[in-house]
Symmetry: C2
């Protein structure tokens, strides 16, 4: 039976070759690149540098592909394995060849796509579920997970759209029946695919984009409607519902920026296709132009080199130069005339070969080199903006081109890719991670590392609370490490303000991470000779607990002002579970009676964490790597301040960049912290007052309301007999 089919198809191929293009011109591409745009591109290739570069890459890729025989292997391998990489290569080569055909008009490129699709047509209908599928992931046929099959289809259908005009009716029928309809049915209607297709999740977005675009090209209204409105067409799932639920009104995507980047490709590419085929849907205006906000927000969630803050499951190697975001930025520029985004397109240096890309290449052609402006932002999370959020504080220092960025995360869980990092902070100096997030434990596509999937250590370490710069109660992760429980609750924003040049501040409460413990963190970046971070973390409980405030710093220890006991001839893990089992205990100390300081060097700056302590506090210095039999973990460093047997407790810390280390000039400035004292002046149910004094006698007093209040509300505190009055949530007094 199988052989018969192949024979029949071979005859068809022969026939097509002989009969030439009798069937051409009854179809024109309708997804991302129209015939007119393709012509325009071919005429402007020499005029726009980014266009020339991008098309030359595409054409080179296509030419290289055409040199070799087509191979469509039976899928057998894990991520990183041969068949996996080959099918990825195939869809890329088809996509490149489709583009090359439209721009150059050379039919050999179209022929390549046609031939390859015919090969897929031979094997696809008979494929079983992938042999390397995992129970907890929906399976693909070409790849171990269905997600990759969707990505294949997103590219494959675009390639077909670009060359369809050059394919005979008979071969179109074969290809559409045995590849595209078969695949769309598998991905949206089969037992394995339907569930994902109707998920409010990035996997769902890839699925609906793949199927929806296939619907346009195959002129299958049913496919399109199911993609837009869900399998039942009841608008409870599908693309529109995904747009409603996956982004906050500020364009934050709850899985975090790493997955936002990834999801933006199907969101934007499908939106572009929708807009070209059903302009009446006004998809780019939908929900107050949410797709524009989503793109802008993810671009802001990056360090100075455009690398995404590695919140939740995230690989640190990704920045906004990736292809996914080339599509997104181009489409945003095309549809919103968003000039603020042009510096990113300029940095990307490449454009997508599409109508949007053409417009973008033109726009940056004679533009001077510009920096993408990074702003402080308060980004609300949740579909209605009521599930906490993220504060992004940014201040320049007096050093040339130096910007500090503090990230304070009080957002929702982010589903299965979420980490237990409630009220966690990060600190960056330009692109340098000062207080870091481990990101995900995964070596993408490296076969020897669990087939390139998320490693065991992603659960046991990377997602654990102790892997983050936050507080851990009784050595357990937030929500005891159960993401489904964590998904039910989000922190609450108490107040936030980024309008004040002297201080950027936010305060949030998390009440459900631990039964009976309320956690409130108030984080501020304060303008000073060198800006510093003020961090106030209050815990309230009726029971006694152990509270560990952890900092995963990056750099080399320079000095401490407390004595510690180093573990010099034997190391043992800090704990038994919840991430603690992965930390070697390097040293232990009894904290100082009033202030404990810890200084490290990172690149050309010193950094000190000064924490208000008494001699009941313990300090632990750690390094990651215990219980790691397969050497899956990076050996990062931790500094922990521990308060044991406490009910209510408040940690107050200053995180302070200072001085400089210049190996070129062999000069060192200010290697010692400048903080002199930290005091809690007063704290009750309603108010907190903290005083920080520096060695130069400058002092900063921060007073704030612990509970929600309006900007107009007047507050009064009496401290040491002196009254202070202010309006709104907080006031900062500088002396």
């Amino acid at each position: 039976m199988k052989y018969k089919t192949i024979k029949a198809i071979s005859l068809t191929v022969l026939f097509t070759v002989l009969s030439g293009n009798a069937f051409a011109q009854d179809y024109a591409p309708l997804l991302l690149l129209s015939k007119a745009e393709a012509k325009n591109i071919s005429q402007h290739l020499g005029d726009y540098k980014a266009l020339e570069k991008s098309f030359s890459k595409v054409k080179k890729g296509a030419d290289k592909a055409l040199e070799k025989p087509i191979e469509v292997p039976i899928p057998v391998d894990n991520g990183g394995g041969y068949s996996h990489e080959k099918h990825k290569k195939n869809y890329r080569e088809m996509y490149y060849s489709g583009l090359a055909f439209q721009v150059t008009g050379d039919k050999k490129y179209a022929k390549f796509v046609e031939d390859m699709l015919l090969e897929y047509a031979k094997i696809y209908p008979g494929l079983p579920l992938h042999p390397k599928r995992k129970a907890e992931q929906n399976s693909g046929k070409l790849f171990w997970q269905g997600l990759n099959d969707c990505v294949w289809l997103v590219h494959g259908i675009q390639a077909y759209d670009l060359v369809k005009e050059n394919i005979s009716a008979q071969n179109r029928e074969t290809i559409e029946r045995d590849v595209f309809k078969s695949m769309a049915a598998f991905l949206s209607e089969s037992e394995s695919g339907k569930d994902t297709f109707n998920k409010i999740h990035n996997h769902g977005t890839w699925a609906v984009a793949a199927v929806g675009m296939t619907g346009y090209v195959l002129n299958d209204k049913d496919m399109v409607e199911r993609a837009l409105y869900g399998s039942a067409k009841d608008k409870k799932t599908g693309f529109i519902k995904q747009i409603d639920l996956l982004f906050s009104p500020d364009g934050y995507y709850s899985e975090g920026p790493y997955y936002q980047r990834y999801a933006l490709q199907p969101f934007m590419v499908f939106a572009e296709a929708i807009n070209r085929n059903q302009p009446e849907l006004k998809i780019f205006d939908y929900r107050n132009q949410i797709l524009r906000k989503a793109t802008n927000t993810v671009l802001q969630l990056t360090d100075a080199n455009g690398y995404f803050f590695p919140i939740n499951d995230a690989l640190k190697e990704k920045n906004f130069m990736t292809e996914e975001l080339v599509f997104a930025t181009n489409i945003v520029y095309e549809n919103y005339n968003e000039t603020a985004i042009l510096p990113v397109i300029q940095q990307q240096g490449e454009i997508s070969i599409s109508g949007a890309g053409l417009k973008s290449a033109e726009a940056i052609q004679n533009m001077k080199k510009q920096e993408f402006v990074k702003n402080p932002m308060i980004i609300a999370d949740g579909p209605e903006g009521k599930s906490g959020g993220l504060a992004l504080f940014r201040m320049h220092t007096k050093k040339k081109d130096e910007q500090l960025t503090a990230v304070f995360k009080f957002a929702s869980q982010g589903m299965g890719h979420g980490h237990f990092d409630r009220l966690g902070i990060l600190l960056y100096n330009n692109d340098k991670e000062i207080l870091q997030d481990y990101g995900a434990a995964r070596f993408l596509n490296v076969e020897s590392k669990s087939g390139g999937r998320y490693l065991e250590e992603n659960k046991t370490w990377a997602q654990a609370s102790v892997a983050h710069n936050t507080v851990i109660v009784d050595e357990k992760s937030h929500y005891d490490g159960d993401w489904k429980e964590a998904e039910k609750q989000a922190p609450h924003t108490i107040f936030s303000d980024i309008s004040n040049p002297a201080i950027q501040i936010a305060s949030a409460v998390e009440s459900n991470a631990y039964a009976g413990v309320e956690m409130q963190r108030t984080v501020a970046l304060i303008e000073a000779e060198t800006p510093f971070m003020l961090d106030i973390l209050s815990l309230k409980s009726k029971e006694s607990h152990q509270y560990d405030l952890n900092f995963m710093y990056s750099g080399q220890i320079m000095e401490t002002d407390f004595k510690y006991e180093p573990a010099v001839t034997a190391l043992s893990p800090l704990g038994k579970a919840n991430g603690y089992q992965h930390l070697w205990k390097l040293a232990e100390a009894k904290a100082n009676p009033s202030l404990s300081k810890f200084t490290w060097l990172n690149d050309s700056r010193f950094y000190t964490i000064s924490t208000l302590t008494d001699d009941t506090n313990k300090i632990v210095m750690t390094r990651l790597g215990a219980n790691d039999p397969n050497f899956n973990l990076r050996n990062e460093s931790g500094y922990m301040v521990r308060a044991s047997d406490k009910k209510n407790y408040t940690f107050v810390s200053i995180i302070e960049p200072h001085g400089s280390f210049d190996p070129k000039l062999e000069s060192v400035q200010d290697p010692h912290s400048k903080v002199e004292a930290i005091q809690i002046l007063k704290q009750d149910d309603n108010y907190t007052a903290v005083l920080v004094t520096f060695k130069n006698k400058k002092s900063y007093t921060l007073l704030f309301a612990n509970k929600k209040t309006t900007p107009a509300t007047k507050h009064k505190m009496t401290i040491n007999g002196k009254n202070t009055e202010w309006k709104g949530s907080y006031t900062l007094i500088t002396n």
Copy 2:
């Protein structure tokens, strides 16, 4: 008495100010910048970009200095401390102001230098030896070590040379007597200084340069002659003798490139001053233009970003952009018209404000961006080129812009800054360290780290043999860690060849590192689909020993083809002493019966060490950090193949870059080693034959003579009954 002097000087200052410049124009600068050159610079400031940039930096520095009151503190602090940094700042500010005066003609700059020198004149004669001096270092007065005082003088005398014309006779007398003569006497004639002044060592070079240049400016022939020919003027020490002994005929400096960079500043600057004042000495032609070779060689001893290979005591943060080498490259270009060096000057982007700098700025003004060509080199060590040397192998791979560099060090000890790294190797992929050298354990000028000096761990770890990629016998360092013993012996080059496009190779013997043990290492970089390193290390002894072949690799472990026992819940140090006490033992394994493979990932490449083993070999995986109570060490990673209880033993390894890891495209290629087998076909006293087979069935047979031979000598080996004949030291047969 002291008060009286100060009062007298104050009056003098007043008098000078009133009387203006009655004394000017009877002196013109004679060290590095003539009046004509200064005028030329002022006229061409706008014409040459590098000149404009460099002078603008100088002028800005001078202007900033002039804004603040002059302060010459009593020296009290360690490196990194206030008085230390202030005196460094002072000489830099004087030097900048001197240059600004000559170029702009604005006398305020001259006045600043004069005033500051008068302040130094007040304190200098009365200064005792520095309170923070160390027993083992010669003491300075302004700084804890005399070296820094010499550096002060090198700059101070140049500043004075530039402004002397603007200083009254009376103030000249004060300054020359109480600063320059006093300092020159201290540095060359005092008990503390004389010893260093007559040393064949970089400290000696700074001393003679300082005193010699002072001699020219003060017209003191005696000073100049002592600087050139040593205190006794017998030519047994002094600058000329230093040139004779400190460089090999190939321009290698035995302390290594890090110190070569540092020493080149006084070498080149003083040579320039000599050439301008005593051209008859033809200093730049001396010893076959050795100063030209020394500069070229140090520039070659760098990675793709110009960072010096961290051989011996070396900080890794230094590259050829440092000021020392700006002087050197400019002077080399000026005196030798060395155009090959211009790409380096272009990368430096700055020039020295000097005659040499002016010519350099002009030369690069309209030059296209050029890469500095990095060549394979065999660099002989020793004053006569007979003390072993360094092999520098370089090959491009098929990846764009990717060059592998293998460094094989069989050089002499390098005095007190030398490491016990006989027959050590390094491997770089462009600027990435693949097999690395720790460099020095030191945080330069960081007070909290032993006052910025070399740390204890420099001896206990960084200099130890086990800190290097070489063999360690019975867990002891070469020469038992005694540098004075090690200084007496150097390895011998057996053969080397970089003329063959298929293979770059060198073989060397070290017979004295361990009593009764002869070590021979033969290292080759071999052209292949991806070039690979072949490493053959033979040990011969009549007694049984433990041989540890260590590799300090850099990256994340990906896979091994042997089973290991990881230490997951407790770590202990690998050994007791000689660096072993600093290595945590992470895992231990019994080697495979024929071949053991260890694969790691560094940036975008996989690397595998494949070693010929049998099941008597042990393998140890380690991480640096044990016995480090002050957290002075970086936590680098080691892989060790151990052969116990052996007399004669040969390690054969392939170090092989392979595949790629591209997180942007999410693609992984060839993550597994391609080596199939390694065999020693034959080995006797005279010959070694090794066969390496790859999985694609390509094979490489290397045959070589173990002893010195001439290029014309014919050799014959019979292997498995088959005869092979060749001429010269080695032959490579590829199948």
